[in-house]
Symmetry: C2
Subunit: 468 residues, 2 copies
């Protein structure tokens, strides 16, 4: 056992530190399709913040790079470690510490899953509304990538619902940021800076999230449209009327068919309608009152009709839940049908039709294809990318990301950059901003031990995803 | 004319640069009660971002400190310049560049006032919901302090509603952060870092804000309670039921009386009720449908009765608007009745009763007094501080801020630290966090020209607010 391993075992306990071939293969990757798995030299499963701090201090001493890991459900490779690195897995720090029904917050450890938090909040009539597809995802991972999901159109993303953190700096200090309050104007907002930093600035060891009232009634409506332009023209009117949908999703015909088949789902849309519908809008409404919900659904139906929907299907309980679930699981569908990557460019929603049209054309001109769905209220387009040749795919993605940025958007709306998209970021982003972010990184992590290769290049390694 | 002044005039034009005694006295202060006014050596009113960049570069060359100024309505002295400094006033950069009704955002220059933005958004049936008391405040200033206001309980504060910035770094580069999208996970969130940084990191030259549906119907309810504990016990139930109040304010009897008298307002609360009511809850509801609003008001009335209100007054149009306005103007009332400072400690709302009780006791034990009101949904307590002796007041505020922090809160919920609260911050905050913020500051502003004396000490000057 190396000196480092011995020190790690002293800190977290022998049972919770593994090295070399004893590290299970799972820790070599997350769910990012194009990331090359890489088994880390060390795995530690600390039990508390103090242990995390000691592990980081020790890693710093030995110059060992550290990658944090929640449930490993990330889609960009931010949890893929380096082969000589230490993975800090938060699986043992998985307690819901408190459901605070006065301040309407939950205090959780980073290893808590969304499913578990939801169950605990539900018992108090409350809800943590951030709902990315994968409910086995951990809160710590959600903080790392600033996770979003379908309900962001009403409730915002992780950034809007995390009010405080306990975090460990790579230099070993434990800090607390924010608190059980939804606002603070006292110095720089370190909470917001750490959220979305993909394990490169600090590791969250406690997360305080806002809880919202859990509205008991909801309904789901599916509306076929002639094409995506028609869907997107309808969106501003649906939002400005005040119906406050908590789900507002676009699916192209190909994706709806794929997920319906994958999930063996019958939606009751007749063949005649499907033949002419290139695009679908999925809308979910919720209310604390059943009669108000019914009236809202009626109003939505009239509105959709006026906005050009070829029909309006109100999905009943089971079918609605299964379709929403299927949409959430669309990553697995994309994987099952052989996608080579999944991307989630975000653009202003007015730019979505142009983005989709030009992204499709670009793919087609290269003999590749992109297909998908998206959080249409947020302009967040999820596309499966079908382009097996890595070099060709790199060129295609460079073009698609450039297009998104040219239209006023960004490479990722909620998946983050991880190891698989950081090179594009460095190639395409304003160098002034990258240099500024680099100085922030250096301010947190002078030795550069936190997740080298994510956001910034890894000086210690030839990169497995060289710059496009 | 000094070399520096000549260079500033070259950049912004002779008509837009003033020096020495020609600088109007207004630019020597904002509305912070205890700040000592200080006329700056230079005032520039640039017309665009390029000019701002040139001014900053030139100030850097000459080592001249720079203070940004919007409308000068700040309450913490963040816009009070140094006597050898340059004030960059955004009064000429006051255009609403676009009300974008597809993406539901407004793009504004920093000198635009909230009143002006509201008028422009209203014409499109939309609303920018951040509503601090002073509607002559500028959007640039709101970004600087992360301004809040009464509607934060439903809509959040500036941080939750600004989605993009154009900003000038103190080194003269112009960057764009975020965009017309409500989410992004692509590198560190520079938008969020600049918001609330009180002119110490970068100067915003364009602000993109989210617009919300403008709900046409609203109602205001005033409920007297025996004491503040009873008010605060009611709050979680009001919020968890899903009524979604957009205003939820606590006022102590003394403050309600003062603002009623100051605004010559008759609320119809009989003397018998007033005699026994030590605390009031002000609740406003809004809806897109008049009948639903009526039903909600009825439900709220029943709920308040059950929660211990001694009565429930539904205020009609004129009286409601005037009371809300009076509450918004409570700073002016506090000033008129001779408050020596106004503070806005934020604590978890469950801790508000203890905070108020102990803050009052502490003041009383020193022969001083605190009285006020607060955003009770957010735990943000606004207190007028009556304690004329500066040394005594410094000790009192140190105790009150320590108490707020001990209860899990922070020195300021929305006013910021400015020149008047930064010393307390440095004395009371975790030194690890201050050192981290300092490194972030150095990463943006290596020469330290942006607002020295705010957040961090001013190495160039003996401070006029020495550490407590």
């Amino acid at each position: 056992m190396s000196d480092a391993a011995a020190r790690f075992a002293e800190i977290a306990g022998d049972a919770h530190v593994l090295t070399g071939a004893a590290v299970p293969e799972d820790y070599a990757h997350d769910e990012a399709l194009p990331a090359v798995p890489c088994r880390p030299a060390f795995l530690a499963r600390p039990g508390n913040a103090r242990e995390v701090a000691e592990l980081l201090r020790t890693a710093g001493e030995f110059g060992i790079p550290v990658t944090a890991r929640g449930s490993g459900t990330g889609l960009s490779g931010a949890a893929r470690p380096r082969e000589d690195g230490l993975v800090i897995s938060f699986e043992r720090m998985n307690a819901v510490l408190e459901i605070d029904t006065v301040n309407h917050v939950a205090v959780v450890q980073p290893g808590v899953t969304l499913a578990e938090l939801d169950e605990r909040a539900a018992a108090a009539g409350l809800r943590y509304p951030v709902h990315p597809g994968e409910l086995s995802a951990s809160l710590g991972g959600n903080v790392g990538t600033n996770a979003g999901g379908m309900r962001a159109v009403k409730y915002g993303v992780t950034r809007h619902n995390v009010v405080g953190l306990q975090a460990v700096l790579p230099t070993g200090e434990i800090i607390r940021t924010g608190g059980r309050t939804s606002k603070v104007s006292t110095g720089y907002d370190l909470t917001q800076l750490i959220i979305g930093s993909e394990g490169t600035l600090a590791l969250a060891t406690e997360v305080i999230v806002r809880l919202h009232p859990r509205l008991p009634h909801d309904a789901t409506v599916l509306a076929p449209f002639a094409d995506v332009e028609a869907v997107l023209t309808a969106v501003p009117d649906i939002l400005s009327g005040g119906l406050e949908p908590h789900i507002l999703e676009y699916l192209d015909a190909q994706t709806l068919t794929a997920i319906s088949e994958h999930e063996k789902l019958s939606l009751g849309v007749p063949e005649s309608v499907r033949a002419s519908a290139q695009a679908y809008l999925l809308v979910a409404l919720e209310n604390r009152d059943r009669d108000r919900l019914r009236a809202d659904v009626d109003e939505l139906g009239v509105l959709l009709d006026r906005l050009g929907a070829s029909d309006v299907y109100v999905l009943e309980g089971g079918a609605a839940r299964r379709l929403v679930r299927a949409r959430e699981n669309s990553f697995w569908t994309a994987k099952a049908v052989g996608a080579d990557d999944v991307i989630d460019v975000v653009v202003p929603r007015a730019a979505m039709p142009e983005f989709l049209r030009r992204a499709r054309e670009t793919a087609r001109s290269r003999g590749a294809a992109v297909a998908g769905c998206g959080h249409v209220g947020d302009g967040n387009v999820h596309l499966g990318v079908f382009c097996p040749d890595p070099r060709e795919r790199k060129e295609l993605l460079t073009e698609v990301f450039s297009l998104g940025m040219e239209l006023g958007g960004a490479i990722s709306g909620e998946h983050g950059l991880g190891r698989t998209k950081s090179e594009y970021f460095r190639a395409l982003e304003d160098p002034v901003k990258i240099a500024l972010m680099r100085r922030i990184k250096d301010g947190f992590d002078p030795a550069g031990i936190l997740n080298p290769g994510v956001l910034f290049p890894d000086p210690g390694r030839a990169d497995d995803h060289p710059a496009p």
